[in-house]
């Protein structure tokens, strides 16, 4: 039982006929000194680049899994085309097999779109039905091929897991033609595809044919998946469509750069995968390409400048630092205003803002390094001239905002201080100018007076406001 499936997985384990594996001369491979290596690397990189372009639009259209459906759906097409050529007594030709795969993939894509329209099923269920249905048929046809026992069937397994390492020049030409076709469609229809993916209802209201554009995207995906068969095979081709596009979203917030970044990541992943698998014969190149691309995704996820985890973490950290510094300088100025003494003790600051001793020490250290405060002795600190200017500006913003909240948001005076704390650090110059015009005469004399007592007496300090302070 399950002989066909066992065969499929046996294929995966087969070592590739790695023409470039040679004696493991890694440098030779890296420097592309063999013609074969050059062919394989060029083909794989082209493919990665094209997959990145199409994948970006698929991902933004929320059809990422469409690549998986189309890939799997090619199996029955390829097998049927093989049986047809055999029945007609023709030679097995790559183009005929690809044509069969292309037709099957197109049918599967149309089936997904059609099912979505006529049934009330969700997209994921629709795609799962079509994918498994087509793949099941493919496995059946594959067993028929094997039972027929013709001599040329050996090549079919290449379509399931790819045959990167044994790509020849004609394969690369096929990839290049397909890639050129897809890339030019993407350029020609860039504007419309962007609109389709962002707001299809608006596109339809402009009279743009949404269904037609979806079919365009579908055919671009079919072509990409078809040429992708050569490198990674039909099971893993979805990786080339989804992973680079997903990685590029961490790098940029502009669609043009997302497309460019995605195709570069795809090409790089393919290059790394091919190089590694060529250097270590026996490792399947298709799977290595997918792993390398996934590795690049993880890198983008961590350090991507727009949404990467590390930049977001460090942004949060620097924001917390900036807030802490603002609070420190303002407190020092407020303490001085309240006591008339330029020399301020840590105790007074702690009373003013409820800092922890350690937290305050850290803030003071940073401010001293920045030249904003001077330490007079162990426990007493003073603002420098520079610190004074910065603090005055900050106090002004803070009080503007406090007065605004008092006047317009009807907050109690005891609450405006904390509310203003939360917002003042994100006040940009535009907002500050608007505040000034709103509050008019109040601000002419520089910094307006504080609407509440500056040194809070802990015994009357309001419970609600202190709860969220200085975590």
């Amino acid at each position: 039982m399950n002989g066909e499936i066992a065969t499929i997985f046996a294929m995966a384990a087969q070592p590739f006929t790695a023409a470039t594996a040679g004696e493991g001369d890694f440098l030779r491979i890296l420097l592309l000194q063999d013609f074969n290596t050059r062919v394989v690397v060029a083909g794989a990189m082209l493919l990665g680049a094209v997959g990145g372009v199409v994948g970006t639009f698929l991902l933004l259209r929320r059809r990422a899994l469409m690549g998986d459906v189309l890939g799997h759906a090619m199996l029955p097409g390829v097998a049927a085309a093989f049986l047809a050529t055999q029945a007609l007594g023709l030679d097995r030709s790559l183009l005929v097999l690809l044509l069969g795969g292309g037709i099957a993939a197109t049918l599967a894509g149309l089936a997904v779109i059609g099912l979505r329209r006529v049934s009330r099923l969700d997209d994921d269920a629709t795609m799962a039905i079509v994918l498994s249905g087509f793949f099941g048929l493919g496995v059946v046809l594959l067993s028929v091929v094997q039972a027929s026992g013709g001599g040329g069937q050996a090549g079919l397994e290449d379509f399931v897991f790819g045959k990167t390492a044994s790509m020849v020049t004609s394969d690369v030409v096929v990839i290049a033609i397909g890639g050129l076709l897809v890339a030019s469609l993407a350029v020609l229809f860039f504007k419309e595809l962007r609109l389709l993916c962002f707001d299809d209802a608006f596109a339809a209201s402009l009279g743009r044919p949404v269904m037609g554009l979806d079919l365009l995207l579908l055919s671009m995906t079919v072509v990409t998946a078809l040429v992708g068969l050569q490198a990674v095979g039909l099971i893993l081709v979805v990786a080339l469509l989804v992973i680079p596009a997903a990685a590029a979203r961490f790098l940029t917030d502009d669609l043009r750069w997302t497309v460019a970044g995605s195709s570069i990541i795809g090409a790089m992943g393919c290059w790394v995968g091919v190089t590694v698998s060529a250097a270590a014969p026996g490792l399947p190149a298709g799977a290595m390409i997918v792993l390398a691309t996934a590795g690049l995704f993880v890198v983008a996820l961590l350090v991507g400048p727009k949404r990467g985890l590390l930049p977001r973490w460090s942004l949060g950290r620097s924001l917390r630092r900036a807030v802490g510094r603002d609070h420190l300088l303002r407190s020092m100025l407020e303490c001085r205003e309240a006591t008339g003494n330029a020399e301020i003790t840590a105790d007074a600051l702690i009373t003013n803002r409820f800092w922890s001793t350690g937290g305050l020490a850290g803030l003071l250290r940073v401010a001293r390094r920045a030249g904003e405060v001077i330490q007079i002795d162990r426990d007493r600190w003073r603002l420098t001239d520079r610190g004074e200017i910065e603090a005055a500006a900050m106090v002004r913003n803070h009080r503007l905002w406090e007065h605004y909240l008092l006047a317009y948001a009807h907050l109690a005076p005891s609450h405006v201080d904390r509310a203003a704390d939360r917002i003042e650090h994100v006040l940009d110059p535009v907002l500050v100018r608007r505040l000034e015009t709103e509050l008019g005469a109040l601000v002419d004399a520089g910094s307006p007076a504080s609407p509440h007592p500056l040194i809070e007496d802990p015994s009357v300090g309001d419970v609600g406001a202190t709860g969220g302070e200085d975590r």
Binding site: F190, R194, F198, A201, G207, R208, D253
Partner: protein
Amino acid sequence: MPVHHRHRNPPIGPEHDPHAAMSIHDVTVAYHRRPVLWDLDLDIPRGVLAAVVGPNGAGKSTMIKACLDLVPRVSGSIRLLGDEIAAVRGRIGYVPQRETVDWDFPVSALDVVCMGLYRKIGWFRPVRRRHRDAAMEALDRVGLADFADRQISRLSGGQQQRVFLARALVQDADLYFMDEPFASVDAATEQAILEVLRSLRDSGRTVIVVHHDLQTTRDYFDWLVLLNTRLVAAGRIEETWTQENLRATYGGRLTLLEAAGWAMGTAGSGQIRP
């Protein structure tokens, strides 16, 4: 029904008023056999700022989508600006509900506004400097000139709503359909949007707005369509804004809050009816 009129494909049959901005005749729309709009007959004249009001699921958005040919009709015909929809697409503007798109999408506010020009720009042609200038002007009109280059997820809800409005402005249309442009915006933004809508009306355009806030309807609009799957009432707001009509629209579902809103809207205008 005079059949001979229908087969010569005239732009407009006797069932439609050629002077209306929007003329809906006998339209039924159903989702999975459940009718959402039923036998709708409705004309809205040109040059008004019209509110479409009704409870949730009353078919307000569906009416707009049917006018734009975004949903299939079971029956009926619609004429916009006295013509078939396909013939006047270039003169129609649309503001979809804000929640219908992914605001994480990698485009800037300016990119989105430029989309309003895609029809004018045409196929295979890129967005050029003069298009971006026009889009900037529209952003400026809604007070977002400083945010043109900002990625749209970094805008507040009210700013996103205004980006959509700017995209509609740049369409320079004669008839606008707007689906809840006031949804979840702050008071200042609401006033800014209202000002833009009024200036559109004052320059002779027709603006049809799906609105959900009964408190403000009376003050903001000069034409009212009350909808609850079927048409309840339509006409000049002074004549249509009655407690009977609102009761009929909301049935038992007019909540206390909405009733209070109605009372406020009416008290403020001195139009209390028995």
